[in-house]
Symmetry: C2
Subunit: 341 residues, 2 copies
DNA sequence: CTGAAAGCGCTAACAA
DNA sequence: TTGTTAGCGCTTTCAG
């Protein structure tokens, strides 16, 4: 009985290519990895064989042999408020696009904060954390294991990890300053979930701007939400019912700001006539309404891109590379939802 | 010089565990893979060693050895209109969640339809295609390569591949029938991108319902869009300007329907007084407006789940398993945006 | 019930 | 410039 080499139906391996091309597997490997030191003649023979056999190297064998992995896991906390947002989608999209550019495989990992089992760190070459809320432990674990990691959307001071965040407090300040420059003094703030750094910093920027302008901070003008439209609506209702309602409101996200505008319209109020509104995000939805929303543009795509770039840098440089803390500027986009008093 | 066993800093391997536990690596492997035939005594010794060493098996070695991979790639066409949607996010979310349940690694792949290089089929254990628009070639390639695949959101008749879709035409019919039952005869349709099967089927359902009720189909009542809010707004403008405007409109997506409602309000029109509206999706945003949107609920999450389940079935059963074509029912959700004539 | 040994497909010294 | 060979870490017969 002919001792056939294993299952003949098996997919082609580097050995088959080598045989067909009449060279050693090493040479094939060199061609695949573009090692240069291969004679043009052999090179083309290999290439031809590869094409004929439709050969694709086994990534597992490669990874096992090299110890390197080009898999990047994007860790998103399965945090309802956040995940239903424009933010999450933009982030995923931008990350996906750039990973493709860098030839990285993007592993998506939605995680419950209370989850015990973490992903197998041996399976990934790098970790991209979307925020650190509820995943701090995982970040620490990754750092200890020496897996290149970067945290996005959270300026992590107290951990030796690269991060790229947005200047939330600065953005908030510019929004409120703008309102003040328009003559507003009674300015409310509908904040997002202050458990997130982004929301907390926006709140801080709001109070800072007020203080610097000698406007007293009224607690009743600060409404905290979970970033959902539902809670934004409730907050707006509260605002409108106040005996001394604000003349302007800075809202922590565009989608919430849109909800406030919607409610205002329903109640027959005029925007910006009766209330000036500034959002945060620069979500395209803000453009389609009757009154284009003035907002603070947040470079979400850029943030994701910088994150992937930084991660790629970490992954391709030797162990112990210096971490980077990047903070991206925001930009006030003036449209139609505010008026001068 | 002591011939140290390679880099001592290297992560622990099965060998270290075996040594520490005082058994062979085979036994360790058995314990890891829950092979049962291991004496309790050895078993606990191994477990203890695993814990002490914080051992995590190398997925690459496992995959190389077994030839099996639990990596699932979710292929989403980078199709602007689609990707900015509620749809994409829901899909990713549901897929991500269920993959975790099945212990599958989710690889996200956003693809340009014109891309040549495809992902390395050897690297994945299964493929989940979100729609087949622009990726038909890839689907065929996967089928030929024998890689388990399922197409979501598109009922693929002409290819031997599993798919799970939604009853778009049925859903559209029920929406239009409902409008008709309310006494409407002048019913318009703002369709999505008819290059997608979903939009095409909704349009078909619309015309079918009309025909079955002996209402003539007016071409000028059919406005085609790309699913974007911008185009929805233009379509609505067109509608409102007509000499004989419709009394009701069936819109192919909730986000577009919301845009139509917004425009109506801006123009001082009353919903549902002046115009009845039915959407499609059951996007939660439809609930927050002043008038809750009547819509056709689309089991997006269920669709994604069924997709993953089916893929998992394919991946765990032997080659050549029978493909399944699944079609999920929709449900009309009556809320406040329609009135009887 | 356990262990020795032969791979899985590829890369990377080391020689030639 | 090319080939030989020894692993990478794990699974899986096959003996014991």
């Amino acid at each position: 009985m002919t001792h056939t080499k294993k299952t003949p139906s098996a997919t082609k391996s580097i050995v088959d290519v080598a045989r067909l091309a009449g060279v050693s597997i090493t040479t094939v490997s060199r061609v695949i990895n573009k090692i240069g030191t291969v004679k043009e003649k052999n090179r083309s023979k290999v290439l031809r064989a590869v094409k004929e056999l439709k050969f694709q190297p086994s990534v597992f064998a490669q990874r096992l042999a090299t110890g390197r992995s080009n898999v990047v896991a994007l860790i998103i906390p399965r945090y309802e408020g956040v995940f239903y947002s424009f933010y999450a989608l933009e982030l995923i999209r931008a990350t996906g696009n750039l990973c493709e550019v860098f030839k990285l495989d993007l592993l998506l990992h939605l995680t419950d904060s209370h989850i015990q089992s973490f992903l197998n760190l041996k399976g990934v070459g790098g970790l991209l954390f979307s925020d650190i809320i509820g995943t701090r432990y995982q970040v620490e674990e990754a750092i200890n294991a020496g897996v290149p990691s970067v945290v996005i959307n959270n300026y992590v001071k107290d951990l030796p990890v690269s991060c790229v965040a947005v200047d939330n407090s600065g953005g908030a300040e510019s929004a409120v300053n703008y309102l003040i420059s328009l003559g507003h003094k009674k300015i409310a703030h509908i904040s997002g979930d202050v458990a997130t750094q982004a929301a907390a910093m926006r709140l801080e920027g709001y109070t800072e701007a007020l203080k610097k302008n000698n406007i007293s901070v009224r607690e009743d003008y600060i409404l905290k939400t979970d970033y959902s439209r539902g809670q934004a609506r409730s907050a707006a209702e509260t605002l409108f019912k106040m005996s001394e309602p604000p003349t302007a409101v800075f809202v922590a996200s565009d989608s919430m700001a849109l909800e406030v505008m919607a409610l205002a319209r329903e109640m027959g109020k005029n925007i910006p006539g009766d209330l000036s509104i500034v959002g945060f995000d620069d979500n395209p939805s803000g453009l389609y309404g009757p009154v284009a929303l003035t907002t603070v543009r947040q470079p979400l795509v850029k943030m994701a891109e910088e994150g992937v770039k930084e991660l790629n840098r970490l992954m391709t440089s030797k162990k112990g590379a210096q971490v980077k803390k990047i903070i991206l500027p925001t930009e006030l986009v003036v449209r139609e939802s505010c008026r001068a008093l």
